[in-house]
Structures are given as C-alpha cells and as structure tokens.
Symmetry: C2
Subunit: 256 residues, 2 copies
C-alpha cells in the first residue's frame, strides 16, 4: 500500500508546487518509487518537471473523466524513480462537468486503487482552492502536507484549511491525518518571517517539520529550465533544504 499524501493549502503562492516537485524528487533520490499527481489545471508541477502541459494528449483529466488507463497517461521524468501523472487546462472543466456525477469526490481515490501497488509514495499537488479537485485529493490521500509561507495572509488561512480537513475526516475520509506543516520562503532577515515561524511552531508544535525552506531564488529559477532544483543546482540553499525535508519526511513515515 503506497503512502498517499496531498500537498494542499487554499492560500495561493505558498509553495505547494515547489514542495511537491522538490520533495517528490528528494524522496525518489533516496531510492523510493514515487508518483507525483498534478491536480492543478495550471499544470505547474507538469512544467516544473520538464513537460509542456499544452502538448499533452492524455492527462489526469482523461483518467478521471474518460476512463483512460494509468499506463496511457503516466510520464517518466528526468528523475529516476519519479513518475508524473500530468495535468493541463482540461482539468478546469472538471469543476463543472463533475457536478452531477455520483461520488464525484471519490474519483481519484478509486482511480489510484489500481496504481498504489506500483509505488511507495504518491504525492498530489493541489490547486489554490477548496473545490472539487482539492476535495478529490483529500479523499484519495491518507495524509495532508501543508506548505505555509512565512507571511501574514498565509498564516491567517491556516485555521480555515485545518477546519476543511476536519470536515473531510468526519465525512468522506475518516483516516485522513496531517502529515506535517512545512514553513516556506523563510527570510531570516525579516521580523515578519520570524514572528510567523514562532506562532506556527508554537501552535502546531511537532507537526511542523524541523526543516524550514528558505526564500532562495534558485527555487524560482529551476522551473524555467523544467527541472527540480535538486537537478538544477544541488548545492543551493533551496536544494539542500528540500533534501533535508525529504530525509525528515521518510523518517517520520518509518516511525509510523
């Protein structure tokens, strides 16, 4: 049984895709068999791993809506051990098309049932909303990894996200837990980042990973080359932070 982890936060631009792409890469480089599912119509995880969403014929959308087989949609990436189920703008149609579909929240969970045995870990990158796509990810997942940007609006939105996760636990997915909270875009020079970090660590305690991701321009440059930062510039502060997060993520899992 694969460990299925949704990377979610309805606040925009907090580092969901950057965390999905680089943590999945870091975990694959430790020898695990990893799948990254891109559930965002923007297709940022897809382009962050070197594919152009506009050229793809089959994506996660076709798997969920047109019963296309996993094997016909999954793509290899430059990272050995990491596969990608890509997304493109077609996925935006799902919001409307799924409205009257029976068990529309469980489509991804059902689809991944046959896929799980092939992987050790499945990550799902979510869009910045709590709509049907994110709900599908939260129902398919066993846990949620929450990136939190070290800024005020991102911190403010955290309690609403935790509330939504609670509601999913009570109704559609009782086994859902919080995998962890990762602090992103931390800039040691500014007091706001330190204040947010203290508040989040103070409130969520051991749920917060020790590894903090610094604000580091290499992380923003890597996607323009279609490569995870670990392949683009492994010596950078951003790459090193995601390597350390990957190690922490794996050791958390082993403790069970």
């Amino acid at each position: 049984m694969a460990k299925i982890v949704a990377v979610a936060n309805q606040k925009g631009g907090v580092g969901k895709t950057t965390t999905s792409v680089n943590l999945a890469t870091g975990v694959a480089l430790q020898g695990k068999r990893v799948l990254l599912v891109d559930m965002d119509p923007q297709g940022n995880a897809t382009s962050g791993l070197g594919l152009d969403p506009r050229t793809l014929q089959t994506t996660v959308y076709n798997c969920l809506i047109n019963y296309v087989k996993f094997d016909d949609a999954v793509k290899n990436t430059e990272v050995s051990g990491l596969s990608l189920l890509p997304a493109n703008a077609d996925l935006a149609g799902a919001e409307i098309e799924l409205v009257n579909v029976e068990e529309r929240e469980k489509l991804l969970r059902h689809f991944l049932k046959d896929v799980e045995p092939l992987f050790d870990i499945i990550f799902i990158d979510c869009p910045p909303a709590l709509g049907i796509l994110t709900v599908n990810a939260l129902v398919a997942a066993r846990s949620v990894l929450i990136p939190v940007q070290c800024e005020y609006y991102a911190m403010e939105g955290l309690s609403r996200l935790i509330g939504s996760i609670d509601r999913i636990q009570q109704s559609l997915n009782p086994g859902l837990t919080i995998e962890g909270i990762v602090l992103t875009m931390y800039d040691a020079r500014n007091t706001l980042a330190r204040q947010v970090t203290d508040q989040v660590r103070g409130h969520f305690k051991e749920l917060v990973y020790q590894s903090t991701i610094p604000r580091n321009v290499t992380l923003a440059e890597a996607p323009s080359y279609g490569r995870p930062v670990l392949l683009y510039n492994v010596a950078s502060a951003g790459a090193q932070a995601y390597l350390s997060l990957a190690k922490e993520f794996i050791s958390h899992g082993e403790k069970g």
Copy 2:
C-alpha cells in the same frame, strides 16, 4: 457610471490582494470615491483593511445569496473615500449553492447596478481560480487589471488567463477590456525577474504599466497591522510604487 475593475489572475500569490488594497487606497487618496469588493472567501482584502472576516455578520455573500442590501453590508475603512464590501468563508459555499441558479454568472453585475452611482471606481479582488466567483467579477467589470509576479509560473499562466478573458468577452460581457498588467514582486538583483519583465513588456507592450512594484517586505508587513501600506509606511518603496501606479491608473482612465 462607475469604472468597475476586476483584479484577477488564477495563479496564486501574485499580489492580487496587495494590489487591490493599495491601489484602491492610492486612488481614494487622490480624491476619488472608491469601493473595494472582496470576492475571495479567504477575506484577505477584508483583513488587509483592518476587519476580522470571522466577526462579520453580513458580507458580499449575503448580498448575492440572501438579498441583503448594500447599505447593510458595506463597511467604512481607515482610508477616507474608500469603502469595503467585505468577504468571509461563507463565500466558499457559493460555488456549490449557485450551481443551479439562473444567470448565476450575473449576480454581482445585477447587484452593483444600484451601487455604481455612489462611486467613481469599484475594484473587485478575485480568488486564485477561474470559478464562479471570478466569473462573476469578470462579468460585472468593464475591465480587468492583471497583477503578474516576476517569476516563471506566473508568466506561464498569463496566456491561459487572457484566453479566459476572451471567452467571457465573447459570451457574457462583450465590453470587457484589459485595463492593464502590473508587474509585481520585482527584484532587480535577480536575472529571472529581469527576464520575465522583458518578456511581458515585449509581448504586451503599452498594456503594461510603467510603474513596477518591487519586492518590498513592508508590503508583507502592512496586512499584519490591518492597514494599507500607504497608511502603514508611506515612505517605503512599496508604498511609493503603489502611489505611482494609482496616478498612472487615473491618467489612463482620463485618456478614456
């Protein structure tokens, strides 16, 4: 007739709320009567102007769904000349509740008909998605102001946004135009920001405002005090950039 401008971009965290709050403030300080409508269930524009979304009894949601009058929901702000139609998490329910409502895309447009005569300019802050809330804003508005973060993923998403605006023009709102594109979080020290700026200016030419908003921590600090940056620290680079954008926005409008 008020000028109604939607501030939209489905990419998350590009500075939609920061631009809505600070541009609306800058324009009000130039003597215009301004309304800011918060159409994001996160309620960031609401808290950025000093109100706690969780304590509000009536918001834009009640105006659209329960026929609450504008006067019973609108709030004054610390900025003279700037009023706010606030939002809170109730608005997230609208996605589901409006599904079978006749003319669900036009609710905000109809609601603002009676409100327009009271203001010179109405800004609408949009959530990071192209769902029913953003569509309502694009149908109510006469133009769209697009913040673009000077980074790769934000630039990549621009063509999809322009495509969506075209589709709204052809179907629901033929008069919709692009008010302008504002480059945000520009960091002169990094090549990526310069590359993105050159590409966006090269492609969209005079649609791009001369005023560029620098990455400036004061802009991220101001919301934690519930104040627009122009009241929090008017001498900061961020505040000065939004003042210059406000002047440019007004002079664009006068040229018609």
